[in-house]
Symmetry: C2
Subunit: 427 residues, 2 copies
């Protein structure tokens, strides 16, 4: 039996959840794992949560008190962001403490730095809760699947947008109504930018790509598009074509480098990711030995995130107990990040076009000139002389598609380029 002292910085919903699990399951952890987890210090802006959790006696408003407490073995950083949180993580490592964090921003932008520091100081740094809530994706990529050369990681990593897209697909809601519903349910912030513009998912796929491909991928490497332009018309068209629309976070290892991006995509209804609905997340991983695997679960919320944080705490505690020196891990490759323009993809393109005989021919001509090959075309009933045309393309160079669309926009009979959405086989 060994006592492991925990210092928690940040007592929001996740921090409170962590404290509750440790309290509720203390005897189980002692009996099953031989680990006596003890919360010896908590820092937060005010003492309300600490009082409610019976932790008033170890409460402080100054995070330095946690990081500098010689009794604390593991610092749990649950503030978020890259301001004070980064100081906490680095400060803790500097004083020789192990760190467990749920901080996606730090791990997507400063992973090399903090993991390098952890390795230098021989301490552990775990971050399972930074991606996919309670889904054990990081541990799986770092351990069970590490025997594989991973070729592809495709995730639904943002619960807010997945909830919205599910409401649009299942209930025919507009984007605006789906956002309002998500906000009313507490699934979306008043300012939904981080979610709907794809930044949250971009942070997470940067983390997963780094681990899966053992190379440095940071937030700024991720090409990112959000879901603001998705309409219920597109959702209808997707279903008719055998697809649904999901905000995908994609990381692929290609011979020439890493393709990493976040964007809405048409996903075939036959693919397991198409059935991941509501606030659920899932990560589809393809490896050279394991083949296709998928991990699915709740990607957000106090319970799932706290589950992952306490899982990390117990892992660190076991290793403290075993008495070895932590080796740590940093990425060892420096694979190039590929420019999306140079890659190819299939596209769904919807536009409003004057119902004139020559219109279609001139659009087809532009696409052909730009080497964008059309797979299907369908035209929907004209209203007031304007028809809606939907094209799907074969694989085409993305740069060529964008160039062709710039020209299409200038065609007089084209009244509006409504949607351009990638079609993924999710292979």
């Amino acid at each position: 039996m060994s006592t492991v002292n925990i210092g928690i910085v940040g007592l929001g919903t996740v921090g409170a959840g962590v404290a509750r699990i440790i309290k509720r399951r203390h005897e189980d952890f002692l009996r099953h794992e031989g680990v006596d987890l003890h919360i010896s210090r908590v820092a937060s802006r005010n003492d309300k949560a600490a009082r409610e959790l019976g932790l008033a006696s170890v409460f402080t408003t100054d995070w330095h008190d946690v990081v500098n407490d010689p009794e604390v073995d593991i610092v749990i950083e649950l503030i978020g962001g890259t301001g004070v949180a980064l100081d906490v993580v680095k400060g803790a490592i500097d004083t020789g403490k192990h760190v467990v964090t749920a901080n996606k921003a730090i791990m997507a932008t400063h992973a090399d730095e903090v993991l390098g520091m952890a390795r230098e100081h021989g301490v552990q740094l775990e971050c399972e809760a930074s991606v996919g809530g309670g889904i054990p994706i990081i541990a799986s990529l770092e351990r069970s699947l590490v025997s594989n050369e991973i070729t592809s990681v495709v995730g639904i990593l943002n619960g807010t947008t997945n909830y919205m897209l599910t409401r649009m697909a299942e209930d025919g809601m507009s984007y605006a109504d789906a956002l309002a519903r998500a906000q009313a349910q507490g699934f979306a912030e008043a300012d939904p930018t981080a979610d709907v513009d794809g930044f949250d998912a971009a942070n997470k796929i940067a983390i997963l790509a780094s681990i899966a491909f053992n190379t440095r991928v940071t937030l700024s490497d991720v090409h990112s598009e959000g879901i603001r332009s998705i309409s219920s018309v597109d959702m209808d068209n997707a279903r008719k074509m055998g697809y649904t629309i999901k905000l995908l976070a994609v990381a692929k290892r290609l011979p020439q480098g890493i393709d990493v991006r976040v964007h809405p995509a048409m996903v075939p209804l036959s693919h397991p990711l198409s059935a991941v609905n509501g606030v659920y997340n899932a990560i589809y991983v393809v490896g050279d030995s394991v083949g296709d695997t998928m991990l699915y679960g709740q990607g957000a919320g106090a319970g799932p995130a706290a589950s992952a944080v306490v899982g990390d705490i117990l892992e660190v505690a076991r290793r403290i107990k075993e008495g070895g020196r932590s080796i740590g891990s940093t990425t060892t490759e420096r694979l190039p990040i590929l420019d999306q323009n140079d890659l190819s993809a299939r596209f769904y393109i919807r536009m409003r076009v004057a119902d004139e005989p020559a219109a279609l021919a001139s659009i087809a001509d532009v696409l052909a000139t730009c080497k964008v090959s059309i797979l299907t075309m369908s035209q929907h009933g004209a209203v007031d002389g304007v028809a809606e045309i939907v094209f799907t393309t074969h694989h085409a160079r993305i740069k060529d598609v964008m160039t062709s669309l710039d020209v299409v926009r200038t065609i007089k009979s084209v009244r509006g380029l409504e949607s351009v959405i990638r079609i993924e086989g999710v292979e």
Copy 2:
């Protein structure tokens, strides 16, 4: 950098797969993990595979040569069964070697013994490949999800039967045709007993239940029914009712003890497990903090199993490098295993009945007397004076259902009790 010497016992498809991964990715493991994996001894019945793999110089036909080799750090047991394989595992632990095994039979019947020995000798014993091929389910239950009180583990754990049931559901095949197809594709053995009678899945759910609930569950504790009695008529009826039929391996923690069983079940089409088709496996886990999670992937085959074995090898190698003393894990609870008769379930019951006015009344009367409450009843067109009747029940005590069916069988107008299948909400 540290050299870790591997001794492999059993060079069948999985053993050869392991050797190939170690050869192919040797430089990656060295660079990324700082581990120099070296196959220093292999034992097999003949030297064919060893010669093909370039391992002729370290080949032996006597497994003792591997276990007693002082240079070997980790013994990889890939023979299977509980005969020689158990001697290998125990022999390896006795000589202070770490063990990685894919052996479900040993882990479902002798886990306490071998894990206890490993703990005593301070060596690691890993067995990820024993359940679900390359799916990281054991590591996830032991680590990332260990913060949870797990309440339910429901798996599709046998690829052969899932392939057969998928063919029956999608192509309308009979059981016999589906079995013949599975055998032709190499997914089923000439003697399919272990798969179709549920024994393979029973071994695996015993292992998962032990880990998830931290209590001793062995093969003999698992109530087991196979799929031999499932017909295409049942599959059709299931679909009409909004279900599909899967061979489920279920382990639930109830207030009074552990409910553990393998049987075919109607699974709602809205549940993620219903979409797990072909040779794929999946495990649906519910925990008090994490909520619902599912892990999905290929449950069999040389690649996935070798992926899991090498993942375990690298985990052991990292811990050797870190220099701590392995603590090991054995179950610490002794929860009672519940008798299925005392539990309750919902049932689908199909019978052939003489098309007489009194027939239905007498069946309904028997069910009511036995406290089995009918939820739905449907009667299908009589042929030659015999109709097919399908009942679904509310939750009823299983013993009562079985008693009622014993009486129903004796009713003169009942010509045949064709199918009795559980209906699972998979909650």
